[in-house]
């Protein structure tokens, strides 16, 4: 266990916060001032830009959990475990926000908060898997063991993803009405809409990266403190 305690501040750490804040401001300006109101859906459609942006962060996060789990089982490096945990926490956060914004959008447009559309079902199941992942971490007695158990869950979650995907599509595949409506309803007619979407996705993705780095750094410090405390009690 040779870990550097001093955290080096490199260029990414310095540039990420102002870039995130700048992109966020630009996104807000574009959404509320610049972009034209959707002809069919009215002002409520503006939530779409935020909603879409959540999914990029969510799926990157869950992909990272799977990768970190695999790497942890293979290499047994605590750094991979910290990455996996941080990504799972943030993925769950963005997933929750994505489901919430989606529901708020769906209520006036589809007339319901929730439908058992394949995509929604898949996301809900994913949310539950990663909630269980975090719960497993907090309920294990030995942190090292918790890390490998959670990694097994992370890997099987990835393998299961394809099956879940097939199952929910076949299950609800007979009712494609919502999807068609969605694609037809939110077609981004105006080029400004596309620009807004890209800026918004970028802003939330930067926010995700920033939070991820902060979270991994915090976990690293926590482990260092834990390590030092063990050394102290051992020498005392």
């Amino acid at each position: 266990m040779t870990e550097t305690t001093a955290r080096t501040r490199n260029a990414t750490d310095v540039l990420l916060p102002p870039a995130t804040i700048g992109a966020m401001m630009a996104a807000l300006y574009l959404i509320f001032v610049v972009v034209p109101t959707d002809a069919f859906q009215g002002p409520v459609q503006r939530i779409f830009y935020v909603h879409m942006a959540m999914w990029l962060a969510t799926f990157t996060a869950f992909g990272l959990v799977a990768l970190a789990s695999l790497m942890y089982l293979w290499r047994r490096a605590p750094e991979w475990d910290r990455r996996g945990r941080a990504a799972a926490e943030l993925g769950l956060l963005f997933c929750t926000l994505g489901l919430t914004t989606g529901s708020i959008w769906a209520k006036p447009i589809w007339g319901t908060w929730w439908t058992w559309d394949p995509r929604l079902t898949l996301t809900l199941i994913l949310w539950m898997i990663y909630a269980a992942y975090l719960l497993l971490r907090s309920l294990t007695t030995d942190p090292d063991q918790g890390a490998s158990l959670a990694a097994i869950l992370g890997v099987s979650g990835l393998l299961d993803l394809y099956l879940i995907n097939r199952a929910v599509y076949w299950w609800r595949g007979i009712h494609p009405a919502v999807l068609v409506q969605r694609q037809g309803g939110s077609g981004l007619a105006d080029p400004l809409m596309r620009v807004t979407l890209v800026v918004c996705m970028l802003a939330f993705f930067l926010l995700f990266l920033w939070l991820l780095r902060l979270r991994i750094g915090a976990a690293r410090l926590q482990d260092t403190v834990e390590h030092l405390r063990e050394q102290l009690t051992a020498s005392a």
Partner: protein, 219 residues
């Protein structure tokens, strides 16, 4: 491996604990769900495939929790781990044991289900059998793996369903859809894609469990 299965079977034959609890719980869930749907309504026939799977799944979850708790009492697990065996073999033996117990319990639960829901006996049993076999195999594999994992946590009994049920979602969807279509009189050919999905699920979790059991039981 067969010695391990035989050991579990012998314990069960002597105590009849797991089988009795699996059976009673399965029957009770059938009873509760019978209360949930009006006995005179048409809804019952539509709900029937769902009902049998809810009974199978919840009773099975409890049964699998028991199967690994056994090993923990009196430190039997340590004894097992000391044996010159591949960890994957222990997993496969435990899965086989769980599958056998669940199948044995279903031998009583399914006829009772037929009885309560007023279905044709031979037709129902014949058509449910392949789905039950495939579904329970995957369920035993994923259940054994996650029962071993939840054994390592503080809230053991609660953790198993929390960890397993979301991952087993494709299994449930496939099993319930297949049962519903088969009971509605569809041919086997109409549900091949679901049966393939069930088989794929079984294969994935048998392999994952077999490979990762070593990490689960390590001290």
């Amino acid at each position: 491996m067969f010695a391990l299965i035989w050991k579990d079977l012998q314990i069960e034959l002597r105590t009849k604990e797991t089988l009795a609890s699996l059976l009673l719980l399965g029957l009770l869930i059938l009873l509760v769900l019978s209360f949930a749907f009006d006995p005179t309504s048409e809804l019952r026939a539509t709900a029937a495939p769902g009902v049998i799977w809810v009974a199978v799944i919840f009773a099975g979850t409890l049964g699998m929790n028991r199967s690994l708790l056994h090993e923990r009492e009196h430190d039997c697990l340590h004894g097992l781990l000391l044996a010159p065996l591949d960890r994957g073999t222990i997993f496969l033996a435990k899965t086989a044991g769980n599958l056998l117990f669940m199948l044995a319990a279903e031998c009583v639960v399914v006829p009772t289900f037929v009885f309560f829901f007023n279905l044709p006996l031979g037709f129902t049993v014949l058509r449910l059998a392949p789905v039950l076999l495939l579904g329970l195999l995957g369920f035993a594999a994923i259940g054994t793996l996650f029962a071993a994992i939840s054994l390592r946590t503080r809230a053991r009994e609660v953790m198993l369903p929390l960890l397993m049920l979301p991952l087993a979602a494709p299994l449930f969807i496939a099993a319930i859809q297949t049962s519903a279509q088969l009971l509605a009189g569809e041919s086997l050919g109409a549900v091949t894609h679901w049966l393939h999905l069930l088989a794929a699920f079984d294969a994935v979790f048998l392999v994952v469990g077999w490979l990762s059991f070593e990490y689960v039981v390590e001290q």
